[in-house]
């Protein structure tokens, strides 16, 4: 019988470093969207076009009267804290927070493509960051949960 050599996970410190970088970037993106919205405007698409304005002005951009970017900002702050902390609580909270963020990003991307019919590059940036954060946190959790910090 052939045996497959197990893939060695990166060191936990490396994964935490990656997550720290991504979460910090995410806080920046979510903060920009929140500030642009609070001024009564919308984020400006650097690549041009009106996608960001269309998405920002759609009713899907707010949840219970609050801009979804505010929830994103809170999520990234939690993820940054988890990346900076050691131990199982940080590993599990980081995994669960990034899982929820990733799931919600999938839903928001579906809305952009099929309901709003416009793409906002800031939302795409956030979705990519959340996907990478999920990958980093899932790897950290699977490789290191239940082990010594």
């Amino acid at each position: 019988m052939n045996s497959v050599a197990p893939v060695k996970a990166p060191a936990e410190g490396t994964l935490r470093g990656i997550a720290t970088f991504l979460a910090t970037f995410g806080i920046g993106v979510a903060t920009y969207i929140t500030i642009a919205d609070s001024g009564g405007g919308s984020p400006v698409c650097i690549a041009g076009g009106h996608g960001c304005q269309t998405v920002a002005e759609s009713s899907y951009s707010h949840l219970l009267g609050v801009n979804v970017a505010v929830f994103g900002m809170v999520g990234y702050v939690v993820l940054l804290a988890c990346a900076l902390l050691r131990g199982d609580l940080a590993r599990m909270t980081g995994f669960l927070a990034s899982l929820v963020g990733f799931g919600y990003s999938v839903y928001l991307t579906y809305l952009e493509l099929f309901k709003i019919e416009a793409i906002c590059q800031w939302c795409v940036a956030s979705a990519v960051l959340m996907t990478l954060l999920f990958a980093a946190n899932a790897t950290r959790m699977l490789a290191y949960v239940g082990k010594e910090p």
Binding site: H50, Q53, T54, E57, S58, S59, Y60, D88, M92, F95, L96, L99, V100, F102, G103, Y104, V106, Y107, Y110, L111, F114, K115, I116, M141, L142, V145, G146, K147
Partner: protein, 232 residues
Amino acid sequence: MNDRRERLIKLASAAVFLTIVAVAVLIVSQSGSSGGDSENIVSVAEVERELQGIPQDGMVLGQPSARVKLLEFADLQCPVCKGYSEEVLPQVIENQVRSGEARLDYRPFTIIDADSIPAAEAAIAAGKQERGWNYVEIFYRNQGEEGSGYVSDEFLTAIARAAKVPDLARWNSDRKSASVKAEVEEATAEAEHLGFEGTPSFAVQGPDTRGLEALGLLESAGAIEEAISAAH
């Protein structure tokens, strides 16, 4: 330590399963909605861009000096009119209305069912505050299934808000007024007088026409542009 690791990984697996179910439920619930939803008014910015900078007077869109007037007789509940609003008229608005060659006059022709009347009255009332075309265009982009009962006060008000009608209280009293009711009835009677039987139907008036000429259904933006050019 291994037991604890096993328990935590089981917990994570359950969370992954629940997240997949939650996202699937959210997507399925959204894909089932087919317009007519006052909670989710879409394409507001798109309409704003389409009409930005073009004067509106009542239900007339375009420069007052435009020599040709194109009348569109339409029903807000009509799916074909929605198709015209989204696919055909933007080209005419951009090329001939914005340039000052023609004016577009929206006339309600309420033929689908009783719900077409309050919808038309709401649009005419928005026109009294120079937001009539925004109202019509946003309505079409959020149109529900024909005759499904989606034309509620709540839906009409959500469209008025999205169309940025400045004085909602005035809009609300105007749309229920006898004069607006009469305006809708007169437009429908005019369409019948012109011999129209379906929506949208067009009529044109210009220096080269003998009064108002009934054109009926024009198949494309090109056909509408030709009719405007011929009326010069």
